[in-house]
Symmetry: C2
Subunit: 790 residues, 2 copies
């Protein structure tokens, strides 16, 4: 086969690759003498050697070749570096392109800049060894592995012009999320979305082991990729010139294939939907730590997992110093950089320019592209109610009508999608199907409903893939919401952690613009999974979120549909947060008309005068957060009205959980004086809470009256039972709450015995009825709020 | 092709299948009239219809055919039901086999038993709609999806005689864990381990959508399975007789293939290791809700996602009642059960007997097979130290030598494995390689180390697959430990939740025997991931665990290597817990000799007299939990000694976090009097904690002195920096702790200004040194504990 690249092209590519590798090694090792103008001495070497060489030359090779491709075809391309700790490579590339200097002017493109570039790497107050929010062009942190491909697809959705090149490390490829993400191609519409170009980089090893995919036969690997729905291309070698030729030729073919697929899908046609094509993907097999030291202390290093981190260390041994010097010289830096440390112009000219540079692609700083959603007036979707507790509604179904029109209004700008693991309809948001179906590229069958190639609801039965898609979509400047069964959102705990870290870091990076918030609707929640049982009952996700930085997280527990609307509207307008909304889907009593709901949600917490009773100087505060706790609290109020007619009770409802924290801990926190005013400084507070009680205690442990808070919530008692019994077995039921009041209010002490025996006989009746009838007692099923006599 | 089954065999299989389907429908719908001896009326139907029909007939079909296979070949087979909510099927099967009645004698094998069987299903205080710990023969909960295949492999390891039949739902197959678990075959040694027989059941739909794998071509699906390393067999149809024939023939072929693989691998051979074979797997495509109503209210149901839950509801419509009656009659119950409700003897005879019944396989109640580990004396591995703080050691490396011999002692019984996501060596447990390599079935290459087909260390770069394997291994009566980077253990949060739920439920099931605890070693922890940076820094897993039932979870923070040994020994001996041990791997000062360590760990908390000073009536208590907080606390003590020589300080170290809770909340909790004695009732307590401070506050909010606890810990400030700076940016450093003391002890008030300015100048020096040198100040690096003058 004749050569694909001319000698000149080959030399250029190789020079660029060498320059990037040189800069990567420099970052790992050097704190001075960046161009080896003096003989290398210990004084030039960093005291702590931290960094990861192994994946670096492969990433540099790919990046360099993609640059050629971008220039050749004027591509709009984004780069996602999946392999962990690929920092040295990506930083080197962004520096060579000039973007790094544009973002961080002190890292100039000269010898001083090189010193700064090298020194800051893995250095206190510098940058980390993996790609992070600090790196221009990146939407993906290379710390925790497994999310690159889902992020890449998220970025490609609704960006028809974009190609997202996604390098997947063969270590990362063993993770669950990555393994599931390959199927994302079933949800990518070539007519409407951009393309993802997956590059599986087999360098053969992870930290300490060979990788699974590097050690199966090419036959199996090829079948696996075909089975995932790709057309795999293979490039393999350890001789640079040969690999350059093969890689350039292959990438060229692949880009033409992508263009052909897109051309085909986008041509005017009759009514038929585009079909899922066989997208090209690349398997690139090159040695780990390629071009690094072949042997160190008699052990093979290049091509083994010994090349993973720092192949040469312990510079007390002079031979290591000489090896490092040889290694650096092997890239021939004097042929790459001028005496002042600038990249030679003919090499620099090989990079794309302006926004065609992957490090300067606007999609890599999605906030810069963000347009606010055109939200309909949420109040128009409100439940109309005459009085508190006068009707029942399904909160999420009401929200669904609002989301339908959010979707409708965004159809022109194509910047909103709804995500869910097979649960959008189960979570009762199915009104959205009136304006958009679920994305589905496979041929349709009879009885298929709400499926279409141009659907904008994204459903795959993987919380992780949904989360990864949504993150990628948000990071490239769009909007979205993920609805999920509350218990199973824990599947993405670690992904949420990492996104929170990204948001915190990104907010400290001056050139990063705010992106839309990551919005969760958690429904089918712990108190209404009575039929599905214990495995479906877990309210702990909000505990995880509450551990994150207060400027990143928000937690909302709207008590009814109108509050849910108000909260959802607020979340969809916000930026740079992780918003968690917990709301039930079952028919429940409604409390606030829309005006009251708006005021209540704006305050985040409020005294419900209509439910309180002579509460200027209350005997007790009954607080509640969450829809079911609110219901049980109000039912307890009606019981107490009957038992103790003269009780002075104040009802406080909390929507925004973070108001409970002091204002110096969270921006939403109430001032101590307002808190004391609302919750009193010395009265018992019976707090009915949606989640684990400990969360309330920790949020308010700095408050004056905290010793008087008595919190009821989920105490890990789960079962297949009835809704009311779920409250009973967790001591959150109305009878228990009423008893709690009697127990805690000193002036009711003489009624305690009566109240207790009344409680126990009620519980006995409850249990007997439950076992006999399999459902809740009529007085529970038929309970309805009635206002007290004036 | 001639028929595989004789008419009689076919009839028998079909009758058994009909019987199980009948019982499943009965469970979902009926509370009375179980054999339709009277015409069906509303009074016979449950008031709340809960359950999942869709997956049921497929599971029943597979189970019935596996029974035939077991009898034919006298197989030792375990059944793992992956599809969610397969409860009605598996319960029906266990009832038909008699096991259900053996476990729950009130559910007799007669008409009264049938009423109880039906009624209890999805009924308060009954059983759930998915397979749970209550179901005989099960090791896998069908609630949260995705873990069946990893559980199955875990069960098969070291059980050479066992075949684990694992049904994978096509919904479940979309999850990350499941997608990654297929590669488990690379870690299964046919000579030593049993077999897994994966059955991918394509019924085409999940809750509300078609499934991905049901809608790709057979060509792609077949390639996918081959790519995963399997030899796929396909059976498809919707005509029972044809499917029975094809399924029986195919399963027969597959079992013979498994036997052939095992025979080949197990024959005496020269020295060569067995190779990974191409294991057979089955793709079974049958309609969702097969044999159920074909149409309801004009909509197609069988073969669509409308069959997912309860295909017929709203029995106010008389036609639905008639349809249900016809549906039940379609199984011809009078040909299956006698007038008293017993299964006819010739049908019953088709099931295996005794322990060959999958519901009575001892591996399904692993605790019954559990043998305690033969643990070496852990004290023999202790670090010898003359005095506290006299030397440094790497705690996990010391533990590694103990684990090496745990492994060694278990080689004969083959009942211990070590699991880790590519981190065993990085976590410095590599001494185990002296006695056992990592399991690796692929051909070895030059420079491959510690890899062997008979290795007992399990490494795949998926925390989820490791977790699933270990759970399956434990649930079938063996022992193990999973080591993981602390931050990334969040990847398995939801799996841990589900295992905790399993343990809680199982402990309430009288016939379930205790299984070995699920042991985690979390290392490479938040305070020593300074070089890897923020993405690797998260101590929140213990918060998640602390939310679980107190009789299930234990959290240990050993301050040094000897304490780690003691704690690890304790955990390896324990049953039915989730034990989380957090311990660093870096060289750190050692505090307790082994005798002191044993006493300290047994108590879980202790006053360290050697570090305290005139502490009978202390000015302040300095408490610490975790290795780094302990180091910083002791360093603060030496600083304070210098600043305030007459300070009376008591040092308390906490190993077992649960001692902080009141004894009525956790069995390890200290009594209030002991707590008050140790922590005082009125003195300031400066508590240096490994994790998020809120966890300490919530554990001790019931304690007398809780308002005086001032907790320092991780406050989500992460960076690529130095170890000491990590403490500084989170205010956990020695200088801050010392300042905290000065601030909190009333009699030191007049020294506060001096102390503060001293603190600020130290911090300035710290920061300058850090930026200049990239490492910590000499006084930090060289700090060593010195006892106070007597």
């Amino acid at each position: 086969m004749s050569d694909f690249l001319s000698d000149e092209q080959l030399e250029g590519l190789d020079a660029y690759w060498r320059a990037s590798n040189y800069l990567a090694v420099g970052q790992i090792y050097l704190k001075d003498n960046p161009l080896l103008h003096q003989p290398l001495t210990l004084a030039h070497i960093k005291p702590r050697l931290l960094g990861h060489w192994g994946t670096t030359p492969g990433l540099n090779l790919i990046y360099t070749h993609l640059n050629r491709l971008i220039k050749q075809y004027d591509l709009n391309m984004l780069f996602v570096a999946g392999p962990g700790h690929g920092g040295p490579a990506v930083v080197a590339q962004t520096y060579l392109e000039g973007t790094y200097t544009e973002c961080y002017p002190s890292v100039e493109r000269d010898i001083n800049g090189l010193v700064r570039l090298f020194r800051q790497f893995s250095w206190p107050y510098g940058i980390s060894s993996h790609v992070s929010a600090q790196i221009p062009g990146s939407i993906h942190e290379g710390g925790e592995l497994g999310y690159s491909l889902a992020h890449a697809y998220g970025a490609a959705f609704d960006n028809p012009d974009l190609i997202v090149a996604c390098v997947i490390g063969d270590g990362e490829a063993e993770t669950g999320t990555l393994a599931a993400s390959w199927h994302s191609n079933k949800f990518l519409n070539p007519a409407r979305d951009g393309a993802v170009l997956p590059i599986l980089h087999l360098n053969g090893y992870k930290i300490a082991n060979p990788t699974v995919l590097a050690r199966i036969s090419e036959d199996e690997l090829s079948a696996l990729m075909y089975g995932y729905g790709y057309d795999p291309y293979f490039v393999e070698g350890d001789e640079p010139a040969q690999v350059h030729q093969a890689l350039a030729r292959t990438l060229d073919t692949m880009v033409l294939k992508i263009r052909e697929i897109q051309r085909e899908a986008r041509q005017p046609r009759s009514s038929e939907a585009p079909e899922r094509p066989l997208w090209p993907m690349l398997v690139l097999r090159t040695p780990k730590g390629w071009t690094g030291p072949k042997f160190v202390d008699g052990h093979r290093v290049e091509g083994t997992c010994r090349a993973h981190q720092v192949p040469l260390a312990d510079f007390q041994q002079p031979i290591h110093l000489r090896q490092l010097e040889e290694w650096l010289h092997s890239y021939r830096p004097d042929e790459l950089f001028d005496a002042n440390g600038a990249l030679l112009p003919d090499i620099a000219a090989l990079a794309p320019t302006g926004h065609r540079r992957m490090s300067a692609n606007p999609h890599g700083n999605g906030g810069a592209l963000l347009r606010p959603l055109d939200l309909p007036r949420f109040a128009d979707y409100a439940v109309k109610l005459e009085a508190p507790g006068s009707l029942r509604a399904e909160a999420t179904r009401v929200l669904g009508t609002f989301l339908r029109d959010v979707m409708k209004n965004s159809l022109a700008s194509n910047n909103f999608r709804l995500f869910g693991p097979d649960e959008t309809a189960s979570n009762r948001l199915d009104a959205v199907y009136e304006v958009s179906a679920k994305t589905w590229m496979a041929p349709l069958e009879a009885d298929d409903n709400h499926l279409a190639a141009d659907g904008r609801v994204m459903e795959i039965l993987s919380e992780q893939v949904c989360e990864g898609w949504l993150e990628g979509y948000l990071l490239t400047g769009r909007h979205g919401l993920l609805s999920c069964y509350e218990a199973f959102i824990h599947i993405v705990d670690s992904m949420v952690n990492q996104h929170a870290k990204w948001l915190k870091t990104a907010s400290e990076v001056p050139w990063r613009k705010p992106i839309a918030s990551l919005n969760y609707l958690l429904t089918s929640h712990v108190w209404r999974q009575d039929h599905n049982g214990f495995s479906h009952q877990d309210p702990g996700f909000i505990d995880l979120v509450a551990n994150k930085k207060s400027d990143v997280v928000r937690i909302y527990l709207p008590p009814d549909a109108n509050c849910l609307l108000s909260v959802a509207d607020h979340c969809l307008k916000s930026c740079n947060y992780i918003n968690v909304i917990v709301a039930g889907k079952q028919p429940e009593w409604q409390w606030l008309d829309i005006d009251a709901a708006i005021c209540h949600c704006q305050a985040g917490v409020g005294r419900w005068a209509w439910a309180s009773q002579n509460d200027d100087d209350p005997d007790v505060v009954m607080a509640c957060a969450g829809d079911v706790p609110t219901l049980e609290t109000l039912a307890a109020v009606t019981l107490l009205r009957e038992y103790v007619p003269d009780l002075r009770v104040r009802v406080v409802n909390v929507v925004d959980l973070m108001v409970l924290q002091p204002s110096y801990q969270h921006p939403h926190g109430m001032s101590d004086s307002a808190f004391d005013e609302l919750f009193t400084v010395d009265k018992p507070v019976i707090f009915a809470f949606h989640g684990y009680p400990a969360l309330i205690h920790r949020l308010l442990y700095k408050r004056t009256n905290h010793d008087n808070f008595h919190v009821r919530g989920f105490k890990e008692e789960g079962a297949t039972t009835t809704p009311f019994d779920m409250a009973v077995i967790n001591n959150l039921d109305r009878y228990q709450l009423a008893l709690d009041v009697v127990e805690r209010v000193p002036r009711l002490r003489d009624q305690l015995q009566t109240a207790r025996s009344r409680y126990w006989s009620t519980m006995e009746r409850h249990k007997l009825y439950l076992i006999e009838h399999g459902q809740d007692m009529p007085e529970v099923l038929n309970w309805q709020w009635t206002p007290a006599n004036p």
